[in-house]
């Protein structure tokens, strides 16, 4: 027959552990960064951008030549926000092989680089522009 004192001890330990577990439920919430696990606006915007791009490119064959154009000047790093956007787009575009803008049928471009893009043959008029998220657009080459 089980020792009633032993059973009581087990029950006490179970209660103590339950209280500790409830305290622990509050602890991580309080200990971790106030905004976590909900991402900040920038992170959410990047996710939306990737979702939108995937949606836009869903019907485009995977081997269609794609270009990517940033407002980066030679030798100068991009500002962190634009750079994060660029990397997120690259992640969404993978495993598509990116080519030079001059050889591309479609170009994912930053709004600040559109003037530069308009100098490339086939992209002069910039009429076929699909907005992705603020700052980034998809430009389709006009028929030759």
């Amino acid at each position: 027959m089980a020792d009633p004192l032993d059973a009581l001890r087990r029950l006490g330990a179970l209660l103590a552990a339950s209280v500790a577990a409830i305290l622990c439920l509050r602890w991580p919430r309080a200990a971790w960064s106030p905004g976590w696990p909900v991402p900040d606006g920038h992170q959410a915007s990047l996710t939306r951008c990737s979702e939108r791009l995937a949606e836009v490119l869903a019907d485009v064959p995977r081997d269609a030549p794609l270009g990517l154009l940033t407002p980066q000047k030679q030798g100068e790093p991009l500002d962190p926000v634009t750079n994060e956007g660029l990397e997120h787009l690259k992640a969404t575009l993978a495993p598509r092989r990116l080519v030079e803008v001059a050889e591309a049928e479609r170009v994912v471009a930053h709004a600040r680089a559109l003037v530069q893009l308009s100098k490339v043959p086939g992209f002069e008029r910039l009429e076929t522009v699909v907005p992705l998220v603020p700052g980034w657009v998809l430009v389709v080459r006009e028929p030759r």
Binding site: A17, C24, P39, A94
Partner: protein
């Protein structure tokens, strides 16, 4: 969705089985601690299956669509072989404890792990792409690896991907899970695979602390060591970021723990050499920091065990080759020159003599630990372990502590001599130093306080 989920579950289960077969083969002795073997089998299987996936891509020219079938056949053959050649041995399962404290601590650990896991799942849902390293490197490379054909080579020759020379344990693991989902009728790059893998490596890291601690020190302390892991506070958020740092910490902890176990009986030490070599190779296949740890572990193995005879060295080299071959193929065949060795604007000696860099590093770590970690008492434990005169049996505790110290030193040297912007590198890398070295140090502390 069902095909994706089935692919992820089956892929992970198969990796676990492969790891169990490998660890069952390499673990010496007849008495086998069941929980420790189960805990080690998962990271071992990840290293094995991901390196096999990468090597198959290289050898077959990217015919990844047939990999799952080949993997299944190879695993089944290995399982049959292992069953035939099974040594007489017995699995040791932990006995249920009678003392309230002895089973209260594990209960608390499981409760806390469940709560943290729930928060991490919430975080994964809120940031499905993970963080920078995940989308810009690990999972981006995984997409090319999973695409098959020539696409996987574009990691090195296509659009600029950061850190082309980086080991591919996680990238190849994600790609492998996608190839399993594709075979089961769900092609594509579902984010579920890297999300689940991220959480799994987080749990593997926790298990890499608790399971060896139960072997190295008093069993009641093992659960407390696990609770100590949660002192990382909101650094635990990294468990949902789809990064490789918890995976790396897992191999570091297992490497040090297995060496400490082997050092108990130096006469039979050579029998551990195969497993130690494998863990060194797995660590090198996970991250570049792991390459440094692999070298440290091999040196520590030679110093602590003094392997004699060709057989011991063959075991060490053979074990290292199992997971390390992929590293060699990647580094020598594809990765090109690492950025670490590119031309510098300042000499290494100028950087090492820059007192401001040391002050910044110490200041950052002090501030980070002070503000982010919720249990400074555990650091006090570390100090206590260093101050308490080590008893004779606790000598092996210095193996995890020594390796933690050496790895931290390598990490610090890389940060101090970085050719990138120092402030940026500090913010990027200092967290990783703590994440990777802290579990190792915790293991050493536990073994020093109450050695078994």
């Amino acid at each position: 969705m069902a095909g994706t989920l089935a692919g992820v579950v089956l892929g992970l289960a198969l990796a676990w089985l492969q790891g169990a077969l490998l660890v069952g083969w390499l673990w010496p002795g007849r008495a086998r601690p069941a929980l420790a073997l189960l805990a080690l089998a998962f990271p071992a299987g990840l290293a094995l299956s991901s390196s096999a996936f990468f090597l198959w891509s290289v050898a077959s020219g990217g015919r990844v669509e047939v990999f799952p079938v080949l993997e299944l056949l190879a695993t089944a053959a290995a399982a049959v072989l292992a069953r035939r050649r099974a040594r007489r041995g017995r699995l040791l399962w932990p006995r249920p404890a009678r003392a309230a404290l002895a089973w209260g601590a594990p209960l608390l650990l499981v409760s806390l792990a469940g709560i943290v896991l729930a928060l991490l799942i919430e975080a994964s849902a809120a940031q499905p792409w993970g963080h920078w390293d995940a989308w810009a490197m690990i999972n981006q490379k995984a997409r090319y690896l999973a695409a098959g054909g020539d696409a996987w080579r574009w990691i090195f020759a296509g659009p600029p991907i950061h850190h082309r020379d980086y080991p591919l344990l996680l990238s190849a693991s994600v790609a492998r899970l996608w190839s399993w989902s594709a075979v089961l009728g769900a092609p594509g790059f579902a984010l579920l695979a890297p999300q689940v893998l991220s959480l799994a490596t987080f749990l593997a890291c926790l298990a890499a602390l608790v399971a060896p601690a139960a072997l190295l020190c008093a069993s009641g302390l093992a659960a407390l060591v696990g609770l100590g892991f949660f002192a990382l506070g909101w650094d635990l958020e990294w468990g949902a970021m789809q990064y490789a740092d918890f995976a790396q910490a897992t191999y570091l902890a297992w490497g040090a723990a297995v060496l400490a176990l082997a050092a108990r009986r130096p006469a039979a030490a050579e029998r551990w050499c195969g497993l130690l070599g494998f863990l060194a190779g797995a660590s090198a296949w996970c991250k570049n920091e792991g390459l440094a740890f692999a070298a440290l572990l091999l040196v520590a193995t030679v110093l602590a065990l003094r392997p004699r005879g060709a057989r011991a060295w063959m075991r060490l080299a053979g074990g290292a080759l199992v997971a390390g071959l992929a590293v060699a193929v990647l580094k020598l065949g594809f990765a090109g020159r690492s950025r670490v060795f590119e031309a510098r604007t300042r000499s290494v000696w100028t950087d090492l003599g820059d007192g401001e860099r040391y002050r910044s590093l110490v200041g950052f770590l002090r501030e980070h630990v002070g503000t982010n970690w919720s249990a400074g008492a555990l650091l006090a434990l570390l100090v206590a372990a260093l101050l308490v005169p080590p008893v004779r049996r606790a000598r092996r505790a210095w193996i995890p502590l020594g390796l933690a110290l050496a790895q931290a030193l390598v990490f610090a040297l890389v940060m101090l001599t970085t050719r990138e912007d120092f402030a940026w590198h500090l913010v990027t890398a200092a967290d990783r130093l703590l994440l990777q070295v802290y579990p190792l140090a915790l293991l050493g502390v536990a073994a020093a306080l109450r050695p078994r």
